[in-house]
């Protein structure tokens, strides 16, 4: 009596009850496919969101003034200081902040953009050339303003897609044309890549980017800064750069208690951390749901195997009368359930992986190899564990009792 014979009996038993075998497998197929698909969804969502965060500007840190009373328990609202050009200069000092690569002071204002009869409202963002890498802004056509434009306060502008569409016509590339920003003529030297809603505060597609010097001289005057965009030397240096910025600004703004800060440092790293925690909780939830469906599938196997043992009691009795040892009966039924669960598991893996190719909104599910290995392992375990009890019952039947059953 060897293993091959046991497997042959098991296969014959399964084939004799094709429909039932298929339905039993269905439970496992759904369970395993659910595990793979749901973990792939969680993983895909995580990767998508990570991509979005790096899209905000890798290594970049944004400092914005905190509005008075914005923080809980803040009592120093009256003494809040705005961000100034001097703050930006202090952060740019390599002595105080060795992990900072560049600093881009930002002046921001709302203005009407017009050409001929067309007018649209836009947000003018005046900054330095470092703003482009710092905010991860990409140019679809033309060139960014450079150091010379900045130094000479040239009235040049890069316009967002929405501004270009509204003022110069849909999908136009008005390089070299003149655009009136609050009636001040600027020359269009570039068009920004469309980013769509959600790339940070406001809509980046209605931005007009110009050198900070030109914006201050013609539109806002030489006042406070709207924000400061800082680039860290590397992703690893981001945390260090953040704490350097905090200590410089705390000193300059005379702040003792971090809760009283009149500015806020926002970085993609912080966002990523928060989202990471949220996503892992989310993934855990999905995995738990999938695990429940696996257990249900396993119970289905026990149920069917018990039915099978009961239904074939007489056959078991005959086999015992012909000299089948308990181990052969145990083996036959155990192998039956293991075949059901493993075959179901493999089909489930195929279905699960196949399911990830169904397009789902913005992000693509990414299959976790560990989930596949785990799912197959679990399906084998289910076969042994949930099939073990009925198989033991079958092997322990007394031959005379088994034979008497009709």
């Amino acid at each position: 009596m060897n293993v091959i014979e046991v497997v042959r009996f098991a296969v014959a038993g399964l084939i004799a009850n094709r429909l039932r075998s298929l339905l039993t497998m269905l439970g496992i197929i759904i369970g395993i496919a659910a595990v793979i698909l749901l973990t792939a969804l969680g993983n895909g969502a995580a990767q998508y969101i990570q991509g979005q965060i790096t899209g905000l500007g890798a290594n970049s840190i944004t400092i914005i003034p905190r509005t008075a009373g914005g923080a809980a328990g803040s009592t120093s609202g009256a003494s809040a200081r705005p961000l100034t050009a001097e703050d930006a200069a202090a952060i740019a000092d390599p002595q105080g902040a060795p992990d900072v690569a560049f600093v881009a002071p930002v002046v921001q204002t709302s203005a009407d953009a017009a050409s001929g009869r067309n007018t649209t409202s836009s947000t003018v963002v005046g900054s330095t050339p470092d703003y482009f890498p710092g905010s991860n802004t990409k140019i679809a056509a033309g060139r960014p303003y450079d150091r010379a434009d900045l130094d000479e306060a040239r009235k040049v502008a890069l316009i967002g897609r929405t501004v270009a569409d509204d003022v110069f016509g849909v999908n136009s590339t008005p390089l070299g044309q003149e655009i009136l920003i609050d009636n001040v003529p600027f020359q269009v030297i570039g068009v920004l890549e469309a980013r769509g809603q959600g790339g940070g505060l406001g809509n980046p597609d209605s931005n007009v980017l110009a050198p900070v010097t030109a914006v201050q001289s013609s539109l806002t005057g030489y006042g406070d800064l709207s924000q400061i965009v800082v680039g860290a030397r590397s992703t690893d240096a981001q945390a260090a750069a953040e704490s350097e910025i905090n200590s410089i600004l705390d000193r300059r703004h005379r702040i003792d208690n971090p809760d009283d800060r009149d500015y806020q440092v926002i970085s993609s790293r912080q966002l990523a951390q928060v989202l990471d925690q949220t996503l892992s909780a989310f993934s855990l939830l999905l995995a738990a749901i999938a695990a429940i469906s696996l257990v249900v599938g396993g119970i289905g196997i026990t149920n069917i195997m018990l039915v099978s043992v009961t239904e074939r009691t007489r056959e078991i009795g005959i086999r015992k009368a012909l000299g089948a040892p308990p181990s052969a009966i145990l083996g036959q039924f155990l192998v039956e359930s293991v075949i059901l669960s493993v075959l179901g598991g493999l089909i489930g893996v195929a279905v699960g992986i196949g399911g990830t190719f169904i397009p789902l909104g913005d992000f693509k599910p990414v299959v976790l190899p560990s989930a596949v290995v785990l799912a197959v392992g679990v399906s084998i375990a289910i076969g042994v564990f949930f099939g073990g009890y009925p198989a033991r019952r079958a092997s322990r039947l007394r031959p005379i009792e088994a034979l008497r059953r009709e």
Binding site: M1, R314, I318, R319, A321, L322, G323, P325, P326, P399
Partner: protein
Amino acid sequence: MTEQDVPVLDVRAMSKVYGEGETAVHALREVDLLVRRGEYVAVIGQSGSGKSTLLNILGCLDAPTSGRYLLEGLDVADLDERQQSILRNRQIGFIFQSFNLIPRTTALANVELPLVYAGVSRRRRHERARAALELVGLGQREDHRPNELSGGQQQRVAVARALVTTPALLLADEPTGNLDSASTSDVLGLFDALHRAGRTIVLITHDDEVAERADRVVVVTDGVLTERTGTVAQQSSIRSRATT
């Protein structure tokens, strides 16, 4: 004592009681039975007399409540479940009233089954199973499933299955109970041939005509065995007189 002298069956003071206390049913009461090699023994009795219980114990399908049972000189009570399954496989060939073939399985596979459990290689198994089917006259039907065979043919497959391991003992429980008269004489003819070939057969029946063919007839009445002496014909006449 030579091998030839060891009785195939040696039952001493064997009892079987179902249940306990006042509701206890004594199916067998301290019975003794000795069957020697090559004997053809018929056990007859009314239903409920205990003859099936006796056969089940002889076939190691059930355990006696008390007493000793030696099969080929081996005390069955000393064997564990696995050893008993080996004993059933090697020493005993069963033939049941309801044939008990495995459904949806070909005649050949049914006959091969005991050889599978005996660990015989596939090729030897095929050869021996074919030979056994030839012997019972079903060589042409090896690929038929039980539901494609008549009752008599199914019983012949069952006989082939019982023979295929060349067991020391053939146990038949009402083998003709579900068969018409033509099939009955078919199967009984087979038993006669096996008997002539030197097989030891213990057959249970309630049919005197079937019992007639045996060397020896043992009557079971309320759990007690009595050897019937004289010819079956005489016994029948005595009994018919007693009943009138």
